[in-house]
Symmetry: C2
Subunit: 112 residues, 2 copies
DNA sequence: TTGTATATATCGAAAGTCTATATATAACAT
DNA sequence: ATGTTATATATAGACTTTCGATATATACAA
């Protein structure tokens, strides 16, 4: 698992990216992120749920509830505004990563 | 300039990387970092100086003072322990960047 | 019935960055 | 002379973000 301070700033981007693939509920995001990143990103529930509430307040996501095996799942759907935010965050991360590459040297990127 | 939350976690790495090139004083680090990153990283004095004091307490850097044009400059020198920390932080950043690439897709790295 | 997995939620701690402010000298413009 | 900018370091308090701990509730297995 990666150090928490490195996660800061990219957590929103990762969540938005997950939701680009399709609607998900919170618990599912934690599992998907862990799986897709080969256990590098281990998003904590105490981080995710407040973050999702903020994204909803900001209009980046919309929610609906669905029953499954007696449990209530709250699904999150990426809005058009959320997609716009995703693009912005992605561009910003690439700018950041490119500058880090300049500083660290040696690490060669292709296609940026 | 990059969003501050993205800076979290990589500031120490960047400072250590600067000091790998040679001894520097605080004010110089801010300018060097800004220049070498093409204005992407704008490290603030209020961030840097406390961070340098922490690095000194932890034994990652050593200091000495030098006069220049009537002003006192406090130079920072990377210790062996600091070099070790630099390697660790670099490896961790590359792990993080690689996982981000997996998540974001499309972005192609070479040599990782 | 005890524990584990699923599912969401909130509070307070911790870490890290920033703004604002303070001090002091040098350089430069008006 | 005088004010403004640049150089140089320092600290306090605000703010953001993540995390650990805790709470609630259902399903399922041992």
């Amino acid at each position: 698992m990666i150090e928490k301070s490195l996660m800061a700033g990219s957590t929103i981007l990762l969540v938005l990216k997950l939701l680009e693939q399709g609607d998900l509920y919170g618990y599912q995001m934690i599992e998907s992120l862990q799986e897709q990143s080969n256990n590098v990103f281990e998003l904590k529930a105490g981080t995710l749920y407040p973050l999702l509430h903020t994204l909803e307040q900001d209009g980046a996501v919309e929610t609906y509830e669905q029953q499954a095996q007696g449990r209530t799942r709250k699904y999150y759907h990426l809005t058009a505004q959320g997609q716009k935010l995703l693009k912005q965050k992605t561009a910003e991360w690439q700018k950041y990563a490119h500058a880090m590459k300049d500083m660290l040297g040696g690490m060669s990127y292709a296609g940026i």
